[in-house]
């Protein structure tokens, strides 16, 4: 029995290659050539014309059944991405609002000499002084980076930066008598837990469940 392809089988393969456009582009790019190769193998092993016809019919039915499923999965993934993006923006927007509200409250407290707000103001001063802005930038980078290794690297940096910042604070505190070391330390610890808490909230509570 010859293993070469018959003319009709060759035609069907050409048609199937065109029909593969029914699948999403990414899927086609990844598996299209493998699917054609698979069909080629099936055709080679089919010894009779009815056997080949059965393969064609089965393949066409399979295509009609699975192509919409692949599109549906792609749409679901895109939907999830958009939902995650919305959640990210919501979390960051909320964070900015909290900071703005705190600043407004602080300016009101200072102008009216409200003691509780002034105490809060000292904490906020320390927070701003010790790198809240730097942490915010890294935090935003962590949230918007989709490339996982970079995200992990940035997140690690956010955690690791805690150690040199503390060391630097202690060194400056020892050399500069006007430097308020306890205030700065409290500020940095607060800043760290604030961003860590926000990250925890984002990843455990706010993030929508991914569909399979």
């Amino acid at each position: 029995m010859s293993k070469s392809l018959s003319k009709d089988a060759g035609w069907f393969l050409s048609i199937y290659t065109i029909l593969l456009r029914a699948y999403p582009r990414e899927f086609r790019r990844e598996y299209g050539s493998q699917m054609v190769l698979l069909l080629l193998d099936c055709q080679r092993d089919a010894r009779t014309a009815p056997a080949r016809t059965r393969i064609w019919l089965r393949t066409l039915i399979d295509l009609v059944r699975t192509a919409p499923l692949e599109h549906l999965e792609k749409i679901k993934k895109e939907k999830n991405f958009m939902r995650n993006l919305r959640t990210d923006l919501f979390a960051i927007g909320g964070c900015v609002l909290i900071i703005l509200a705190a600043l407004l409250l602080l300016s009101y407290g200072r102008s009216h000499q409200v003691s509780s707000i002034l105490l809060f103001g000292h904490l906020l001063d320390a927070l701003a002084f010790t790198g809240i802005l730097g942490n915010l930038i890294v935090f935003l980078l962590v949230k918007f980076t989709r490339f996982r290794p970079l995200r992990v690297a940035l997140w690690t940096f956010l955690i690791v930066s805690f150690v040199p910042a503390i060391a630097l604070t202690l060194i400056v505190g020892l050399t500069d008598p006007t430097f308020n070391t306890p205030k700065v330390l409290i500020g940095y610890v607060l800043s760290f837990f604030f961003w860590y808490g926000l990250h925890w909230l984002w990843s455990n509570k706010l993030r929508p469940t991914e569909t399979a």
Binding site: M35, L38, T59, T66
Partner: protein
């Protein structure tokens, strides 16, 4: 690849196509057509995986870390270089085992309800 802290039960029940593919890869690595043939032979022709079903399932199982693609073909001399070979991961093996146990439990229940004859 997802974190290795996942439990196999999270993936159950598997689709019939996925379970058949895992079974086909349980004893050795195979390429797409090999998987298709193995399933066809093992089920006496009752289950025939089409290209879309096969590669759609492969795509999902790779994303879930149940199977992986081999870097090198087992038999590069004799084989078509375009073929991609797949094998079961340790996690995939655990998922396949969990699914087999689940099915065994269901068969046991069916026996208890006299839907199936009792084995001697």
């Amino acid at each position: 690849m997802k974190a290795p802290t996942r439990r196999p039960e999270e993936f159950l029940p598997l689709t019939p196509a996925m379970f058949h593919i895992l079974l086909a890869l349980a004893d050795k690595e195979r390429h797409g057509y090999h998987i298709m043939r193995e399933v066809d032979e093992r089920t006496s022709g009752n289950v025939k995986l089409g290209p879309g079903t096969l590669y759609g399932s492969i795509k999902r199982m790779m994303a879930d870390g149940l199977i992986e693609e081999l870097e090198e073909r087992p038999d590069p001399e004799l084989d078509d270089e375009r073929r991609r070979y797949y094998r079961l991961t340790d996690f995939g093996f655990r998922v396949a085992t969990a699914e087999a146990q689940r099915l065994e439990q269901m068969v046991r229940s069916a026996r208890a309800k006299k839907l199936l004859p009792r084995t001697r």
